[in-house]
């Protein structure tokens, strides 16, 4: 929680993106259903929303649209 300079706490801002992760400001600690915790010290953390991340709960851009290119290599 970020303290406002007059002493009133500022709300935590979470940006929900359309295609990908939720963006959370400041260092965060994420608790998973099994009780394990993942910490991120970044100024902004992208939290995976689509469950496709291989680094869940942290986004790894796996939500991107993929276009298959068939083999042109020998």
């Amino acid at each position: 929680m970020v303290e406002h300079r007059l002493g009133r706490p500022e709300p935590t801002r979470i940006v929900l993106t359309e295609e990908g992760p939720a963006l959370v400001s400041g260092p965060v600690e994420l608790e998973l259903p099994d009780g394990s915790r993942v910490r991120s010290d970044r100024a902004v953390t992208a939290v995976c929303h689509c469950r496709r991340s291989k680094r869940y709960p942290i986004c790894d851009a796996s939500h991107r649209r993929k276009v298959r290119q068939e083999g042109r290599e020998a």
């Binding site: 963006l23 100024a43 986004c59 851009a61």
Partner: protein, 339 residues
Amino acid sequence: MTGTLDRPRTAAPELPTPRGPLSGAVVAALRGDPVPAVDTADADPYGDDLQLALHCCYELHYRGFAGVDDDREWDPAVLGLRRELEQVFLAALRADVEPGDDVAAEVESLLVEPVGPGVRGVSHHLQRDGTLGQLREYVAHRSIYHLKEADPQAWVIPRLSGPAKAGLVTVEHDEYGSGRPERMHSTLFAEMMVEIGLSDAYGAYVEQAPGATLAEVNLMTLCGLHRGLRGASVGQFAMVELTSSPGSERLVKAMRRLGCGPAAIRFYDEHVEADAVHEQVVRRSVLDPLLAAEPELAADVVFGIRASSLLAERMGEHLLGCWERGTTSLRTTPAGSAG
């Protein structure tokens, strides 16, 4: 290849060996020798000679060179040469890049990830069946930028204002380790170099870097140093941040397959997550507010994206072409010429 002990990491590098009349003139100017007249009319804008000449001019604004007076940075003779070189380089890029001003469509096209056996790329090759030697070559090429990672883009900060500036600094701050020097991306890169048996001395591989490698970094500095190219600078920055996450994942896999150690893997591993966030911040907090404030920059943002893509493709083709022919992608220098 050498380890870390020859030179401290902060030492200024030696002046490189000239590769033709243009780099010869710049090196002469930096040494304080008489500068021969140069003719850029027939110069290859992406070639070894012009790109090394430009690299030497630009390095004065970063770490300088051993034995070269710091005041040369603002020497009119050097600046005059630099201007001529920049004009040739920029004119070639403007001619070779298709103009456009639809930034949203451009970004969208970068966010599509080609997959499958037909995709041609350096990171794809290294993940599939590249050798450790090829991986080390790739890292040596990349060191020209990554040992000063984020520095060329820092020039653009004072040219922006308001939300776009705040957004860009958020990403830059992360590149610089968010206040922790041991997490600076340039530091992580240096540690990777040492772990795979390369020298992490600043500029150690300039002598072996071909024009195709130097051109990518020269574009970053060109756009950073010219306020008039601030849109292109942001476009170049966006291109890197939007495209590097999947490539970094492939390089992590390549390093694991080749048995590299944890410090080597950490650099690209960090970039998988970092650039997944940076992609979002660049789109929402840099590009959107920049174009809202200065919509006339759209064409230059697209130019920055396409010019950096073009140079990245040229460099990738150089590496893959050399490896397919079974040769090294680095320049082989005569013994004793490396200073």
